[in-house]
């Protein structure tokens, strides 16, 4: 279904399955191609199988069935230390008994590089993450962000073609995390290295990746570039998981080409929506609608869908105001109102008319 493979794939998961207990599958029939130089993010809630996939790729877990290919060759039987894959761990895993310099020098030593080579590469790697002055420190003497940089430098110092990152920014505070996102992205671009990145943070995934694979329940729910993922979620899980989302449930009563008409289950009337993932007339469906695509309609506007709403709650966020309204029996419906000088004032209890375009309202699986 997501078979977007081409024959130049650098990393390929070919019908990979993984079970720990022989009863249930943690990873169900995974097919995934990653092109050389790509920044691929595996995104998903915890327990969705994304980390297991990463560990199988690194060689710390073995696939129960199926093949993992690296550069066209199966690597199932190659032990981790021979795969030549760099890895950044969640807790950095910097060796506490070695200095920063020794940590970076370690992968070069075990590869038998000469001393001068090692020193040059270590220096270059440290400079790359702006940590050139810290070679003599121990990891415990560094801040979290500094440790993160060192872990990154260590994973890159032996110039692997593929680098795996397992939630590398999870332990950092918000500001630092954002800065590191840009840095990692920058390093990826300048080195041209292939990155497989695991995170449960959708913002991280959207800002950094070339492609995002959304995992849930051991399966890839959608594999797409960030913008497609956000704007054109192909099922209800992705729609709900990525970004903010208004959900309306109902039954498809009519389909005309791309357009389907949905009767809302709360008795709120009919909605025209874009047919994306609907079995046919009579099927249950989940409508997905981004808050920023909902307009507060003036009396004369012509929208595909127009509904009456009542304001329940206002949340002031500076640049915009989140307005929680009740629409067609759903009182978790969010509308974003830009905080512009021309915008009208909204108060709790106000009655509004809301409208949205048919293309923005996607009819998905019932979930």
């Amino acid at each position: 279904m997501f078979d977007v493979r081409d024959d130049t794939a650098f990393v390929r998961f070919d019908r990979v399955q993984k079970s720990y207990d022989g009863v249930s599958l943690v990873v169900k029939d995974l097919n995934l191609d990653i092109a050389r130089g790509e920044f691929m993010t595996m995104l998903g809630p915890s327990g969705s199988g994304k980390t297991t996939c990463l560990m199988m790729l690194a060689g710390f877990e073995t696939a129960t069935s199926g093949d993992i290919l690296l550069g066209g060759k199966p690597i199932n039987n190659i032990p981790p230390h021979k795969r030549g894959i760099g890895m950044v761990f969640q807790n950095y895993a910097l060796f506490p008994h070695m200095t920063v310099g020794e940590n970076l020098s370690f992968p070069l030593e075990v590869r038998g590089l000469g001393r001068s080579d090692r020193e040059a590469k270590v220096k270059r790697a440290l400079d790359m993450v702006q940590m050139g002055a810290f070679a003599g420190r121990r990891p415990a003497q560094l801040s979290g962000g500094q440790q993160q940089r060192i872990a990154l430098a260590r994973a890159l110092v032996f110039e692997p073609d593929l680098v795996l990152m397992d939630e590398p920014l999870g332990a950092l505070d918000k500001n630092l995390r954002e800065r590191m996102q840009y840095e990692i992205k920058h390093i990826h671009e300048s080195l041209g290295v292939t990155v497989v990145y695991v995170t449960h943070d959708q913002t991280e995934a959207l800002t950094m990746s070339d492609k995002v694979a959304v995992f849930d329940d051991g399966k890839i729910q959608q594999l797409a570039p960030p913008d497609i993922l956000y704007e054109e979620p192909s099922n209800a899980f992705v729609a709900a998981f990525i970004g903010e989302n208004n959900t309306l449930r109902g039954q498809v009563v009519r389909i005309e080409g791309d357009v389907c008409t949905v009767k809302l289950s709360e008795g709120g009337g009919e909605v025209k929506a874009l047919r994306v993932n609907v079995e046919g007339e009579g099927a249950q469906t989940t409508l997905s609608l981004r808050p920023e695509r909902v307009m507060i309609a003036g009396g004369d506007s012509h929208m595909d869908n127009v509904f009456d709403a009542q304001v329940q709650e206002l949340i002031y966020l500076g640049d915009h105001i989140r307005v929680r309204v009740q629409v067609a029996g759903n009182d978790e419906f969010i509308v974003k109102v830009p905080n512009s000088s021309s915008g009208r004032k909204v108060r709790v209890g106000d009655a509004l008319r809301l409208g949205w375009a048919m293309q923005d309202c996607r009819a998905l699986d019932p979930s």
């Binding site: 807790n91 060796f95 008994h97 370690f106």
Partner: protein, 439 residues
């Protein structure tokens, strides 16, 4: 506190004559006490509370640890017996050259001392302890003293002949040299003996007869045994601790109980078990014979010798190695090994370069614990060690309990204590005690 000033609480209104500026310089609390004193008072209370909290332990340590150790050290040099018993003799002996037998004057003084002692109440008599003391230095001296003591009241001049008749040892300058040498309130002779040395006739410290040297070699053996046992504990304990650290908590706890089992069995049960297992007609030997590994008349001696001591002590002390190792290993996340492998290290290299160095604090703590405990062990060696498995503590216990030579026991004990402290100091210098992780 600043509030006190601002609050306008009347400041020393009784002495309003003083300039206001001077008053303002002194910070006071809300109720008018100078700030410094208030702070001191508050601090004093905290210090007092802290002191009260540690006081029981302090008193306990002082009474059961520091004080006895001090007393032991004092006993190893304390030497009152000759000074108390023979004041006149010692005076008369002043200036004696130590070669020829002393003259009549000294023997007369000796008679006076003996007679004076007989006058004293029994509990204060000093001749008995004198005999015991001199016998440590010279065999048969106790017999000479006690047998002579009964005859002294009937002695007539010349006393020298009378003494020589009473016991042959009075005619031996060696006895007189001992009396002269030990006629001081402090002595080093216990340490001399503890080092397998003695005084020769010129007062030089020389090695003892070869067939009476025991302590130095016993110290050496104790050290070697302790090192060996520590190493064995490490060899056996490391894999167990590692395995426990990667097991789920439940199974790890079960394994831990097995490791701790020797702690919970009484010494008698354990010893009996070892005997049943290890003796020549025991389980292990019988098994080996029935399997055909050894012949029936070649059964191994696994107990009542050094092997017995090593097996039994390794068994008992293993938990002291496993516990610190386990507690250190549990804190080493598996991601370190994974990181090392992902960086290209083979499993062996990853273990050697990354995992093992991180267990060093545990190894250090375990080794120090096992070593220090085993160097002072004596019950187990006494029960299963036979002769070759004896350690210095057995000799100390023998002098404490059987020969009652507490001075020598104290000297041997002090040397052991100092030895352990020196080794600990060396360890600290080489490895650093802060790297110890005891749990």
């Amino acid at each position: 506190m600043a509030q006190a000033d601002a609050g306008g609480v009347p400041l020393e209104t009784g002495r309003s004559g003083k300039p206001a500026s001077e008053k303002r310089q002194k910070l006071v609390t809300a109720d008018g006490t100078p700030l410094k004193r208030a702070l001191q008072r508050a601090e004093r209370r905290r210090v007092l509370a802290a002191l009260l909290l540690v006081a029981p332990l302090l008193v306990f340590l002082l009474t059961v640890f520091i004080f006895p150790i001090g007393q032991m050290m004092w006993r190893s040099v304390d030497n009152p017996q000759v000074v108390n018993a023979l004041p006149n003799t010692l005076q008369a002996l002043q200036g004696w050259d130590g070669r020829e037998l002393p003259d009549e004057r000294v023997f007369a003084a000796l008679r006076d001392d003996f007679l004076a002692d007989a006058e004293r109440p029994r509990r204060e008599q000093t001749i008995g302890p004198l005999g015991i003391r001199l016998n440590y230095e010279l065999s048969a001296a106790r017999g000479a003293i006690s047998r002579t003591a009964r005859q002294v009241p009937q002695f007539e001049e010349p006393y020298k002949e009378a003494f020589l008749d009473a016991h042959r040892l009075w005619g031996d300058p060696a006895l007189w040299r001992v009396i002269q040498r030990e006629g001081r309130p402090l002595t080093m002779s216990y340490y001399v003996a503890a080092l397998d040395r003695e005084f020769d006739e010129f007062g030089n410290i020389v090695q003892r007869d070869e067939n009476r040297r025991i302590y130095v070699s016993l110290y050496g053996r104790t050290l070697a045994l302790s090192v060996g046992i520590t190493f064995l504990c490490f060899l056996l304990g490391f894999p167990i601790a590692y395995y426990m650290s990667i097991l789920p908590m439940r199974q790890a706890n079960l394994l831990m109980i097995c490791v701790l089992l020797p702690f919970w069995t009484s010494l008698l049960v354990r010893t009996t078990a070892w005997i049943v297992l290890l003796q020549q007609q025991g389980v292990v030997n019988t098994l080996l014979v029935s399997v055909g590994l050894i012949g029936d008349d070649n059964r191994l001696s696994l107990i009542y010798n050094m092997t017995g001591t090593i097996i039994a002590m390794t068994h008992i002390l293993l938990p002291f190695m496993v516990l610190p190792l386990y507690s250190v290993m549990r804190t080493i996340p598996p991601s370190y090994m994974r990181a090392a492998k992902s960086l290209g290290a083979t499993p062996t290299t990853a273990f050697r370069r990354v995992y093992f160095p991180q267990t060093l604090p545990g190894i250090g703590a375990g080794a120090v614990l096992v070593f220090i405990i085993s160097i002072g062990y004596y019950i187990t060696p006494a029960l299963v060690g036979g002769q070759s498995g004896r350690m210095i503590s057995n000799e100390i216990a023998r002098h404490m309990q059987q020969s009652l030579n507490w001075g020598l026991a104290a000297a041997l004990g002090t040397m052991l204590l100092v030895g352990v402290l020196v080794l600990y100091w060396l360890y600290q210098r080489l490895v650093g005690a802060e790297s110890l992780k005891l749990g």
